[in-house]
Symmetry: C2
Amino acid sequence: MSLENNKNLRLMANAIRFLSADAIEKSKSGHPGMPLGMADVATVLFSKFIKINPSAPKWFDRDRFVLSAGHGSMLMYSLLYLLGYKDIDIEDIKNFRQLGAKTAGHPEYGHLAGIDMTTGPLGQGISSAVGMALAERMLNAKFGDKLCNHYTYVINGDGCLMEGISEEAISLAGHLRLNKLIVLWDNNNITIDGTVDKANSTDQIKRFQAVGWNTIEIDGHNFEEIEKAILKAQKSDKPTLIACKTTIGFGAPTKCGTSKCHGSPLGAEEIEAMRKNLGWTSAPFEIPADVLSAWRTAGKRNEQAYEKWSKEAKAAGKEFDDIINNRLPKNWDKELLALEEKCIAEKTKVATRKASQMCLEKIVPAIPQIVGGSADLAASNLTFVEGLKTITKDDYHGNNVMYGIREHAMGAMMNGMALHGGVLPYGGTFFVFSDYLRPAQRLAALMGLRVIYVLTHDSIGVGEDGPTHQPIEHLASYRAMPNINVFRPCDVVETAEAWRLAIENEHTPSILALSRQGLPMLRTSAKENLTAKGGYIISPCKGKRQATLIATGSEVSLAVEAQATLKEEGINVAVVSMPCTELFDAQPISYQEEVLGSSPRIAIEAASKFGWEKYVGLNGDIIGMDGFGASGPAEELYKYFGITKEEIIDSVKNCLGK
Amino acid sequence: MSLENNKNLRLMANAIRFLSADAIEKSKSGHPGMPLGMADVATVLFSKFIKINPSAPKWFDRDRFVLSAGHGSMLMYSLLYLLGYKDIDIEDIKNFRQLGAKTAGHPEYGHLAGIDMTTGPLGQGISSAVGMALAERMLNAKFGDKLCNHYTYVINGDGCLMEGISEEAISLAGHLRLNKLIVLWDNNNITIDGTVDKANSTDQIKRFQAVGWNTIEIDGHNFEEIEKAILKAQKSDKPTLIACKTTIGFGAPTKCGTSKCHGSPLGAEEIEAMRKNLGWTSAPFEIPADVLSAWRTAGKRNEQAYEKWSKEAKAAGKEFDDIINNRLPKNWDKELLALEEKCIAEKTKVATRKASQMCLEKIVPAIPQIVGGSADLAASNLTFVEGLKTITKDDYHGNNVMYGIREHAMGAMMNGMALHGGVLPYGGTFFVFSDYLRPAQRLAALMGLRVIYVLTHDSIGVGEDGPTHQPIEHLASYRAMPNINVFRPCDVVETAEAWRLAIENEHTPSILALSRQGLPMLRTSAKENLTAKGGYIISPCKGKRQATLIATGSEVSLAVEAQATLKEEGINVAVVSMPCTELFDAQPISYQEEVLGSSPRIAIEAASKFGWEKYVGLNGDIIGMDGFGASGPAEELYKYFGITKEEIIDSVKNCLGK
């Protein structure tokens, strides 16, 4: 590499630095430290290596890039602008962090072309990148090098490495030998509260080696070292960590190297001094023509590669096109519908986790994008079926991931797979342990990803394992979260309906909360997907309705039993099954009122009562849990906690003043 | 060690094996694999090393023991019975996993003497043990070897090591050189879904070394190796991992070494064969007299040490006794009350996170047990005050922990500290990142621990950082969780009141959800702790009440502003501040009705609306968030999302049909 070349790279990097510093200064908010510190690394990566085409931001075979240290968002926006993405112009840069701007505080997937993932919550980016890299290898195994063969690059800081999720993800990446994953660690020894050594003394190199990674250590301001390291990483047979020793806030004369430049604007004076220090004479938001031109030229590097790929993709035909565009095969749910009919005819009584497995036996062969898995509970979650093949480091031609006891990484990796495209992931654990993956679920909801969580053992019905294993507050806690559908089906038909909705809902993650214990068939027809309405009368009232029982999952059959006994006593009630409150809330008010009726309403759910007033009002009743569960046989627990037919009957009579 | 000795140890270990296998068989539920596999290690640890006194289970200077692999609960129950704990007899063993039994499915703190922590959710035990070991060193620094000088032992399996939280915890344990922490890893190469190598190929020895641990590898069925390893670990200047190579289900002839014996009863036939295999002739639940006697003798090993400590403790006087019994100094909140009065007089307008810091300036000097900290956000959470001193590996004489970017470990370590006793921990992060520590919070609630979470940046008021950093569903999600108080104070007085309640509530964890932005002083008197009632009329209605505005935190002042404008228009409304719904729900119905009134009710909270129907009913209104937040200045966001004085006024008029 010539000195001349180095000088150009330095100018290109400084363009990132000043765009970042000036935008953050103008918005009076943001994090300059990382964009300034990693500008040199990013310049080499984006001008010499990364396979992207700013004119085709969604190019399927592009390299993926995840800014895991999402607070350094101005690095990303600077790069996208400099490379010539049409979705961003200098006005967007000037509008950094303003309401409605594409240049949001943290990079947001879907708001701006070229952002491969929403980041900000630390550890999520690097972990989702493992999912992207896995999806890439799986599709490569399926379609070959010409159609799918790209790298996944990550830039992250110490924060991502200290978060536990990163250990889960890197250990699985090492185990699966995802050698096209390259992580560039901004090793600047600074976190918000000071130097890293105040809170951490991990030997990161040794740590990554312990989980099967290739490691390289470089000076992150030396262009030659950066280039050599990436070249070496590309040829590794393992995932690679490049530890880039950098100075946070590089170029800012008094604040660089300290936490002062991490999360606040540098200030006019410091930026002025930085201009002198780096010899940058351009006004804010002005990039010298030759520097901009160098960047724009770099942005066009892969145009030929893109054209070549486009031809290959066209030649590959409809199947490939459908898969990479996440289109489902026509009538994919035909067998599922047949299953519903069959189970109605046979009055199949099974746990809904088992019902889910029966559904998967039909879904897996029907949808080529499906990728299953579980966090070491496949035999309990019943997520594994014939037709699934587990992926190993030696053979990526499969569609099942053994995530190990890594719920959080599973959640993040499913996000990464869905973001990558060409795969449709589902993953299982116990419902109570959804707490472990909640930060990843929230990002799935925020990004609007089609990921499906198979969360079994959904109540005190867990039985003997006791309160640590019995979800109580989980249903309510997800109902409070925006843009996630929580399904709690009551029988095989509702389970199948929930699966159909989860798979067809392209922009909303779904939770299937499934029972451990057997549940009777309640549905008598599968002609209409009634779960799609969220709630419906599953057992109508004979005679004038005096009360309405609203139940979900395993409690619907209890309500139906109570209804029969009440009928014998001359009390007419209707039973509403409410498998998905989110979808019910989306129905017209008139439908909701018709279903819920105007007589007293009683909700029954073996979970926290919190939130049910929304449907039963202040004059209804809620039969549920007031505290944590207990250890004992499931049937005894239901009695102990008063979630029984008798309690329902008493409640109705009480509401009716009888 | 003589062969005779080995034979005795084997018999003692087999007593654990048969108690475990038979109890699990009888209850038709449980996990025999681990108790059988780790019986030899546990026998050496409990008969030769561990400093406990079955007659004084709460002995403050006892060694702590955490069965991090909580599913192996029969190991614990067997040990406690064999050692002679009076709280457990053979009937309890026979009642394993039955409703109401002390021998719950997983070990439950507080249900049975000798259980130092509730475990089951993987990774929590080993991480809380780090908190215990830290508390021990802190109190040792304060009181010296004679009063506090003990080990913390952990038994865990592969599950705990694969969970990300374990990396957070072990890296901090290594950083702080907690050399009295000894982890015994049941290295049996089996998880639920099969052999470990299907999902993991981590070099655990190298991994622990990378975070500064001492490591030892042994045959977990060789008594001499076990003994030597523990002796060596006790002398280490670092925390120690002892990797115990074991056979899961040791002794079960056909199922040992496979996942078949992990989580199901062995079956009568297998147990029969195991009796032959190990030469065990006793009937189920019968322990040969000499074996029981050997165990009971082992249980008495530390009686003299206990007597000696008791004398020292008595001599140490009241301060020591108060601290280890978690008693607060008399009038500890005197300065806090004075602060409230002062701020009322000065009409102090500050963010509630700042108010919290002002409170901490009074609390820290007043309570010797207090231990502060933050997950690398001290400067934002405002958790650090004068009088705090950060603990380092070279000096444990402090009361502040720099947790690093390890929210989950912080949560678990706070649990461990509270369980250890003698310390009262609080810890901070952004409210949105409470998701990362939720599994630990749930255990705190289940165990009823006094831990305090300082969760700042509590709404869209976060502003420019955008939706990844703005909590929406978090308030509701914690209100749904049993036994945790969520405080969202509106000014300095409520913040101080919340702190007082959090500190005085010995058996309930507390969340303080605090604003980033400044909030005016609304309270005019601090004579009564009104926050203790959960909700109260903060600004009464002048004239006949036509509507009630119910708000929390930063929205209370909005409601008060709306009230004033409505008054000008001749509409009389009352404003209720509701800083803690849990405490409000605990008030008499008559009080609740008086506060909420019978006229239309409108709730205002910059968060998910979910759950507010509980107070406003079906005819009220809720002004809140329907989806995720956005990036932009906070004031603009409030306008954009319609959480404004004007919206409140419109809502009142609408409810009144005007």
